[in-house]
Subunit: 365 residues, 2 copies
């Protein structure tokens, strides 16, 4: 499978907050080939800490893509049939314009001056990207977690530009608990004296705060069961502290690993985008968000996901059905918690394959 | 109701880790009167951040006790009938010897030199306290969360000295998830540069880290439902940041409030005691911990408590039944999550009242 990593630059983007970013870049990868009718394009959107590198098996020194078990020849998103585009989000730190990018007005990183971005802003930039690739109508937009929020926003913002949407382990708005977990992560970063109100570039990075924030995240991504299976109460000896629990060692490792690849300001900007995302606030009701267009929906959730519980997917499904929209909802059995959308390829693959095939037939038939 | 606040000092206590603390003090309160037969004494043990002030309605400038809805005349723990003792834990920061106490060897606070304490050590100190009060056999030992762990440890350590035990929303050992949440709190404290390896007394206290640790705790004490009911997605205006979510404001407030009354070293010492608590490791099996004595058990849990889920109380009940012990288990309906043991007085009161009355009759009849 050919993996193409690129950066597209656009003149500017107007944000919901009223500010403009100019210029604006977006990092993306593509897998497979766009057909002549341009009817086989699928847009894949990553979760909070993901990046554009969704697929590719880790050859040539590259890491394995975060959804490599789902994107590739004969996989759920079959690159023998479809042209898959994976886009990094606005506000991130993996090639797309974000707080660590250079502000052309000052020649320095935006830092604390980076504006508030919304999920709709992220989607607006993705629309510029797909327009630039000459795609008028996407066969499908899909993603898990925050990727699912973006997919839902696509259906609300551009109903005629997307034939189908697959939001996975996602929601149309965060609950108080989801906001609370994000807020703890933000407060851990703000508590780090190295944060310096976000203007730490060129100095010491607020790594301790960011690592703590990430540890909270990791607990919420797993289930009580999956943590028991993976760690139980097993101990391990550490150089600095004997008889540490394995789960402690794991969290410290993952926290420490995260700071080398993620930016604290992006953590704050992106979690804010998630927390303020609320489709019901964009129209009179959630139902009204989906009143237009012929977009088809496949909504997936997982039994043990307590961070994005199934009831949130069911709320989306209910709103769609009440507008007589074409929607199927499946709750998949899994012990992996929220991480299931990354891990449970076997459960998701036949559902997604069939749905995409059927959608493609309708679109082109 | 007369509330008596006192500090008892003992020569020393030998700890499971092999070290000795000498002298050692314990803060406690008593409510009601000990009868002539000394058969009506109940020991109440607090949760992680509690203190000895369990009851008292807030008169005379004192705060309302943390279990005032459960302890008092005609309440679940009826002070017209019973003599209730509430003891602060070893390692804490509310009058009992802990890391902020003066180390007689140096004349300075123990700080980083405070030894590891176990739940069994806490219970050993409580035993010294009840012995000093002339109580040979307690009518009951009860507490929620970590208080329930101590109550279970009483039954294992001193089966002949306790007629009944009521562990509420508790466990005989922490799961990987419970350890993980505590570890995040500890890491938030360790990440605070003011922590200085625990020797911050006389300097700046690691308030930012401790506040973040507390925020994580508060999320785990509530349920998804109770957070939705209490906060939803409501906003409030703040001086420093407009349109903050109410749940964010609440967490920041509770985090900030906590640092004024709690000690960061105690946070670490006590969460370590909880995480390393494992009744199954003290004998060949959990069942063997309860092989001796005639102690009766009333085990309570709450439907929405995801931090100390009902399955943990059921494991205890199963072990007790397999040894033909006198045990009743009730899962109470509640939306309050782990906080339910503090809030759901109506559900707990009739169960506890009847159980205590029956136990007292058997003990004295």
């Amino acid at each position: 499978m050919r993996v193409s990593s690129q950066i597209a630059e656009f003149d500017s983007i107007e944000l919901d907050c009223g500010q403009t970013l100019a210029p604006v870049s977006v990092a993306y990868e593509t897998y497979g080939e766009l057909n002549q009718r341009r009817s086989n394009a699928i847009l894949i959107l990553h979760a909070f800490s993901g990046d554009a590198h969704a697929a590719g098996n880790g050859a040539n020194g590259k890491q394995r893509g975060w959804w490599d078990n789902m994107i590739g020849p004969a996989k759920a998103f079959d690159t023998n049939r479809y042209f898959v585009i994976s886009s990094n989000v606005l506000g991130g730190c993996a090639g797309t314009t974000g707080p660590s990018s250079t502000d052309p007005a000052t020649g320095k990183p935006y830092g604390s001056q980076f504006p508030h971005v919304s999920i709709a802003d992220m989607v607006r930039l993705q629309k510029q990207l797909t327009d630039s690739l000459g795609i008028r109508k996407l066969l499908c937009v899909s993603g898990g977690s925050m990727g699912g929020m973006q997919a839902l926003q696509w259906a609300a913002s551009y109903p005629d530009a997307v034939a189908s949407v697959i939001p996975i382990a996602s929601t149309h708005r965060h609950s108080a608990q989801q906001i609370a977990f994000n807020e703890v992560g933000r407060q851990a970063i703000l508590a780090d004296p190295d944060f310096c109100h976000g203007d730490y570039y060129g100095g010491t990075y607020p790594e301790r705060g960011l690592a703590v924030a990430r540890m909270v995240g990791h607990i919420t991504y797993m289930s009580d069961d999956s943590m028991r299976e993976k760690f139980g109460r097993r101990r391990r000896s550490a150089a600095d502290e004997s008889d540490m629990f394995e789960v402690e060692s794991y969290l410290r490792y993952r926290g420490g690993q995260f700071v080398s690849r993620f930016d604290a300001n992006s953590y704050i900007v992106i979690t804010r985008a998630m927390d303020t995302f609320d489709l019901t606030a964009q129209r009179d009701s959630l139902e009204d968000c989906f009143a237009q267009g012929n977009t088809r929906f496949l909504v997936l959730s997982f039994t043990s996901d307590w961070l994005y519980p199934s009831y949130q997917s069911q709320e989306i499904t209910r709103a769609l059905r009440s507008r007589n929209r074409d929607v199927a909802y499946v709750e998949l059995q899994s012990n992996y918690g929220h991480d299931a959308f990354l891990l449970e390829a076997d459960g998701q693959t036949p559902l997604i394959k069939g749905f995409l095939e059927n959608t493609h037939q309708r679109l082109t038939g």
